[in-house]
């Protein structure tokens, strides 16, 4: 049983590390700010969560596991909020997303009238 847990947690930690690496590669390969946000998304969703679940298996039923669960919940709430904040700031400053078709830019341009 001990052995199975050990292997499972190792596999999860390896998978999580791999996804963090993929996110980093994406940051380097993708062309502009908005597309890079998506690569960062891999790192702080599945990458971080798999690493945390791997650590929970190592910690077993203890207070440490409860804290790890709370950390994963906080990441779950804060990371999209932070991503939205930077994306929204970029849009407000008028940063044009690269490679997006022209009609998309037209239909999604800021409509002052309809904003709440």
């Amino acid at each position: 049983m001990e052995m199975i847990l050990y292997i499972a947690s190792g596999a999860l930690l390896a998978a999580g590390s791999f996804l963090v690496l993929v996110g980093t590669i994406g940051m380097l390969r993708l062309p502009d700010f908005f597309t890079r946000l998506h690569a960062a998304g891999i790192t702080d969703t599945l990458g971080a969560e798999l690493l945390l679940i791997g650590m929970m298996l190592q910690a077993g039923f203890s207070l440490i596991t409860v804290k790890l669960i709370l950390i994963s919940l906080f990441i779950f709430f804060t990371s999209p909020t932070a991503t939205h904040a930077v994306a929204n700031a970029a849009r407000t400053m008028g940063l044009k997303p690269a490679l997006v078709p022209d009609e998309d830019i037209e239909t999604t341009s800021v409509r002052r009238g309809s904003a709440k």
């Binding site: 590669i25 997006v100 904003a115």
Partner: protein, 157 residues
Amino acid sequence: MVHIVGLGASLFGFWLLMSGHFGPLLISLGVASVVLVLYIAHRMDLYDRETFPVHLKGWIFGYWGWLAKEIFKANIDVAKIVLAPSLPISPRMVRVKATQKTDLGMVIFANSITLTPGTVAVDIEGDEIIVHALSQELADGVLNGDMDGRVTALEER
């Protein structure tokens, strides 16, 4: 009232879990901090459905399960795109209709979009969310309205 008691109980539970010590000194320090926080929150007039959404109850966990599955699938899609030698991206900016009635529902929907890799909610204008997507398929995943419907259903229960 239910908000004050609920917030106080969850804050105290949080304190216990974080400290892991159950001696009288630390417990009373914990109670004192909780009371102080409750007093400050009261002064700031923060007790309402939004700061402590008791009305969402257990339904949210079912939604989280579904969302976790979507996040998993989207992660694999984006990882494939990133690792493919040709880097097959076709970014889109689209307007997505949000049918939620409350601000909290809109926030849950927008955050769910952002949490799913490959789509980021960039702005909210009226009842539309502006979404940047890494590829056409990922944009379609938001445009088909599945997630929107689930969040709206969550709101109504």
